[in-house]
């Protein structure tokens, strides 16, 4: 078996050159599909160790929204070895709680409310069983083990189609990462599931219920993407969170958290030969998913009209205009990035017009958010109290029309390209940022795209911009969000 695996290595070793910078990158893939990228930097004494799974809210739907995010929490709960004093004794409690959770769901399905006395009693029973189970639990052993071995930047994150588990370790302790992550990949245990579900509900309240601007963006995005699962919030809908069960989560994990849907990126002071040997030793025998990953085939249709979303809330008033853009690596994406630079930023056309000249806004900016399947180009402005958002919308369109008809000046092009070069080089100073960018580009089709990015930007000609703007920034297909602060509106009158 070992021999077959070694032969099956697909190796790529190159010195990628960008901006005259040599970045030694090595990559290989295990026979079970696990991808590995190593970026060497011997000037530091640490290694950024990151394990990415190509899953997120894009792979969820009604009833399962937020499962990837919930599993991000659960991954810290341990395995059959870590986080337990006796896993077999824990199992009896876990199974009992599953049955109660299932019965709660049946009651809810039949119309019972959360405060129904039967549901309240059953929830109490779950917490009583948890108390019993905890006699066999070693709390947070994974977190503690990483931490006491000098793990920094210890965390995890979830997005639409990528979930990451992160730690930066002293260079002599990278084996700890292989040990823990291979164990989490093979033997995760969903212990303390139902109490963690409550933690996630608290998190959702904190992020969305009590911060209207976040709720506004959640709603705006769900109107921009009408069918594509990018409309699903990564944290999940509250009703879905409160209905999660362990078996539902297990199904999600079986499907997506496998070596053939994962990538390790190591960045820092590391011996790549040893790393390869160790990764093979720890991860090589973990089987692929039984069923191949289901791809997302849904694509957002071309909008047949404009959409307006207006929300009132205790927040700074603002307006956002969104347009659909093609999926990366479509060539127009790069021209749109340059348009972002021309219109956006403090020296961009919109800030100069809306903040400096017209004095209608406190801020104005632009973001070209490219991704797989189709991203968005968004123009945002924060309004001074009393400013009519429709006036701002008109001015934004005036500037869009200029971009559609006249190429930017040479000076503007120089500014934008220098800015993108600087950002790229500046990003190379962070081991962690290099890792995240590699994973992000891999999720969009191939990590080497990260190193082509600045070249593609440099190759954009100013004459390309009007055509790109005209093609995508179409008023009849826009989604507009307006956040109104009633108090500020009154103040302006």
């Amino acid at each position: 078996m070992r021999k077959i695996i070694m032969i099956a290595f697909i190796t790529f070793l190159s010195v990628l050159k960008a901006e005259k910078i040599s970045l030694p990158v090595e990559s290989f893939t295990l026979s079970n599909g696990l991808k590995v990228v190593i970026v060497k930097n011997n000037d530091v004494a640490v290694v950024s160790c990151r394990l990415y799974y190509f899953v997120g809210s894009m792979y969820e739907g009604p009833g399962t929204s937020g499962l990837s995010h919930m599993y991000e929490h659960m991954m810290f709960k341990g395995t059959k070895i870590l986080g337990t004093k006796d896993y077999n004794k824990e199992l009896q409690y876990i199974r009992k709680m599953d049955i109660i959770a299932e019965n709660i769901q049946k009651l809810k399905d039949s119309g019972a409310a959360d405060d129904d006395a039967r549901i309240v009693a059953m929830k109490k029973e779950i917490y009583s069983l948890l108390t019993e189970q905890r006699k066999y639990i070693k709390k947070d052993e994974i977190w503690e083990t990483y931490q006491k071995n000098g793990g920094s930047k210890l965390n995890a994150w979830t997005s639409d189609y990528l979930t990451a588990y992160l730690v930066t370790l002293p260079k002599n302790k990278v084996e700890l990462f292989y040990w823990i992550e291979s164990d989490r990949m093979q033997n995760p245990v969903l212990r303390e599931f139902y109490s963690e579900r409550d933690v996630v509900a608290e998190e959702r309240r904190m992020r969305y219920e009590n911060q209207p601007v976040n709720s506004y963006y959640e709603n705006l995005l769900s109107r921009f993407y009408t069918v594509h699962p990018f409309r699903i919030p990564t944290i999940g809908y509250m009703s879905d969170i409160q209905s999660y069960t362990r078996p539902k989560m297990e199904e999600h994990v079986r499907r997506y958290y496998t070596p053939d849907n994962a990538m390790i990126v190591l960045s820092g002071n590391i011996d790549s030969k040893k790393a390869r040997k160790d990764i093979e030793k720890y991860f090589g025998n973990i089987p692929r998913a039984v069923k191949p990953k289901q791809t997302v085939v849904t694509r957002e249709p071309v909008p047949d009209g404009e959409t307006r979303y207006i929300m009132r809330g205790d927040s700074e008033p603002r307006i956002d205009i969104m347009f659909h853009i093609p999926p990366y690596p479509h060539n127009d994406v790069f021209a749109l990035d340059v348009i972002e630079g021309v219109l956006g930023g403090r020296t961009g056309r919109l800030y100069k017009r809306l903040v400096d000249s017209e004095k209608l806004c406190t801020d104005a900016d632009v973001s070209n958010s490219f991704r797989i399947h189709g991203g968005y180009f968004i123009i945002s402005a924060s309004l001074i109290a009393g400013t009519d958002p429709l006036t701002v919308e008109k001015i934004i369109y005036d500037e869009i029309d200029k971009i559609k008809t006249t190429p930017p000046s040479d000076e503007e092009m120089e500014r934008v390209k220098n800015s993108i070069r600087f950002s790229y080089l500046s990003g190379l100073r962070s081991l962690e940022r290099i890792s995240d960018q590699i994973a992000r580009f891999e999720a969009m089709g191939g990590w080497k795209g990260m190193f082509d990015y600045t070249d593609k930007i440099i190759s954009v000609k100013k004459e390309d911009l009007p055509a790109a703007a005209a093609k995508y920034m179409i008023r009849e297909r826009q989604t507009i969000g307006i956040l109104i602060n009633a108090k500020a509106q009154q103040e302006g009158k």
């Binding site: 530091v44 083990t145 931490q147 291979s182 990949m185 109490s195 608290e202 945002s380």
Partner: protein, 486 residues
């Protein structure tokens, strides 16, 4: 666009945080605690190797780093919002903004903006309580342009009146919405509650912002922008000797000999009220329970820091995290923190949020854990783990020449000796269980907690759980809009 909103919009949520495949493992160790590691061949870098005092008295930390064609520079200036006069709160923040955006003698603000943007020279200035930090990052090929502008911005700003009025208007808008986020409101209310009547508790409002004049900025510049008030750090793609000469020249251009002092006023902890509730009709209560602590350097600081890590620091592994978040499922985030303040006494606090209905229960559980902690003490394993967490992660904070110069410059600004970091591991290792618990008992007195809550006061006040009720403290209840004058 504002990166915060971009972040929310892309729905990427950064968060803390089984399904079983039957893969056989072929590991060398049955448990990660049995792994053995090679000794780390790394030493904490010395700051003095990078330190130079220029002929004009400026303290400089400098290091070459030719890995990328970039230069990073910072200037720490003795100033900050502690120097804002009463009635002119916000002056220091406006000063920082105008230093960057207000133009320089000979160049209009618009010309400066365009030049910086054209060559992607990223310059900013931040105002803190007790420091101003000027920062610059740029491609090394544009060093000539960058340094020419930096010199003018530092020593010949024009504080253009038109820009001042614009920035005042933006700042006035900002203050209207700064407390939309309940966490920001809690932070402001907490400072008001712990430092009542002190200059640190002053909050800018539209009136104080409007009161700031160009003359105030000019006077402030004269008072603080003196070479002896500054520590400079720089790293990047340059020749050390040439760069030292260049900086020597730039700072020699500073002829400011003003005798106006810039000493910080005295700030003391003063807590006339036991409980402050800021009434906001939201679904959760944001709660902070605080106690007085010390001004650094102080012999108790490290011991209480370790106690704080075990009690409520260190991510999930703390006792409070275990009990309130993990066991009870009452919050997404809870932590305790021993503040590290060098200019005035800090505080020790516990911070969390939970549903309004469970606020009393959560506080009561916290108090139980804290009392248990004080009564039973800490274990050898907890102590060892907390020490390792502090010591073993050091390589992560000294990665590059840029890290070394900025860390040591900040350390010197705080008044630490040059062996502050090299002696740090030994100081931490030397702490005993008794010393940690002695510090904990000296400062963590549960009966003295000051409670600050942002939440629905009707719900919070009406709950009594496990013998705890906020109503027992006869809280002061205020509206969010009254926080400035509280």
């Amino acid at each position: 666009m504002n990166k915060y909103y971009a972040y929310i919009l892309t729905a990427a949520i950064v968060l803390f945080c089984g399904v079983q495949h039957a893969g056989a493992k072929s590991k060398t160790a049955a448990h990660p605690s049995l792994l053995s590691y090679e000794k780390l061949d790394w030493k904490i870098p010395e700051g003095k190797d990078t330190r130079i005092i220029l002929k004009n008295g400026v303290r400089l930390y400098i290091a070459e780093d030719k890995t990328l064609p970039l230069v990073s520079m910072g200037v720490i200036i003795k100033s900050g919002s502690l120097l804002d006069a009463k009635g002119k709160e916000g002056l220091s923040s406006l000063f920082a903004v105008l230093m960057r955006r207000g133009g320089v003698n000979g160049y209009s603000p618009e010309m400066i903006d365009d030049l910086l943007a054209r060559y992607s020279i990223n310059i900013g200035m931040n105002s803190n309580n007790d420091s101003l930090v000027f920062s610059a990052e740029f491609l090394s090929e544009y060093s000539e342009t960058a340094f020419s502008l930096i010199e003018k911005m530092l020593f010949n700003p024009s504080f253009d009146n038109k820009i001042l009025e614009k920035e005042k208007s933006i700042a006035s808008e900002y203050v209207k919405y700064r407390f939309d986020n309940p966490e920001n409101l809690l932070e402001a209310a907490y400072i008001k509650a712990m430092y009542s009547g002190s200059i640190i508790a002053g909050l800018a409002d539209q009136k104080s912002i409007t009161a700031v004049t160009r003359k105030d900025l000019v006077d402030h510049h004269s008072a603080v922008m003196k070479n002896e008030n500054m520590i400079v750090y720089i790293s990047g793609n340059f020749d050390k000797k040439e760069m030292t000469d260049r900086l020597e020249k730039i700072f020699s251009a500073n002829t400011n000999k003003s005798r106006v002092g810039s000493d910080f006023p005295s700030v003391t902890i003063n807590t006339p009220n036991k409980c402050l509730i800021v009434d906001r009709k939201i679904s959760q209560s944001y709660i902070r329970m605080g106690l007085p602590f010390v001004k650094r350097p102080h012999p108790d600081y490290y011991a209480l820091s370790i106690a704080g890590i075990i009690l409520g620091g260190g991510g999930f592994t703390s006792r409070l995290g275990s009990a309130i978040r993990s066991d009870a499922g009452l919050t997404y985030s809870i932590y305790s923190h021993a503040e590290s303040n060098y200019t005035f006494p800090g505080t020790f606090y516990v911070d969390f949020f939970t549903k309004n209905e469970t606020s009393a229960k959560a506080v009561s559980l916290c108090l139980d854990e804290i009392n248990k902690f004080l009564k039973d003490g800490i274990t050898d394993v907890e102590l060892e783990s907390a020490k390792n967490m502090l010591i073993e992660s050091l390589p992560s904070y000294f990665r590059s020449p840029g890290d070394i110069v900025s860390t040591y410059a900040r350390s010197e600004y705080s008044g630490n000796p040059d062996n502050h970091y090299t002696s740090y591991p030994d100081k931490i290792r030397a702490l005993s269980k008794n010393e940690v618990m002695a510090a904990a008992k000296k400062y963590i007195k549960p009966e003295n907690f000051i409670y600050v809550i942002v939440g629905d006061s009707d719900k919070v006040m009406n709950i009594k759980e496990r013998d705890f009720s906020f109503a027992d403290f006869s809280p002061i209840i205020i509206k969010p809009e009254d926080i400035v004058k509280y």
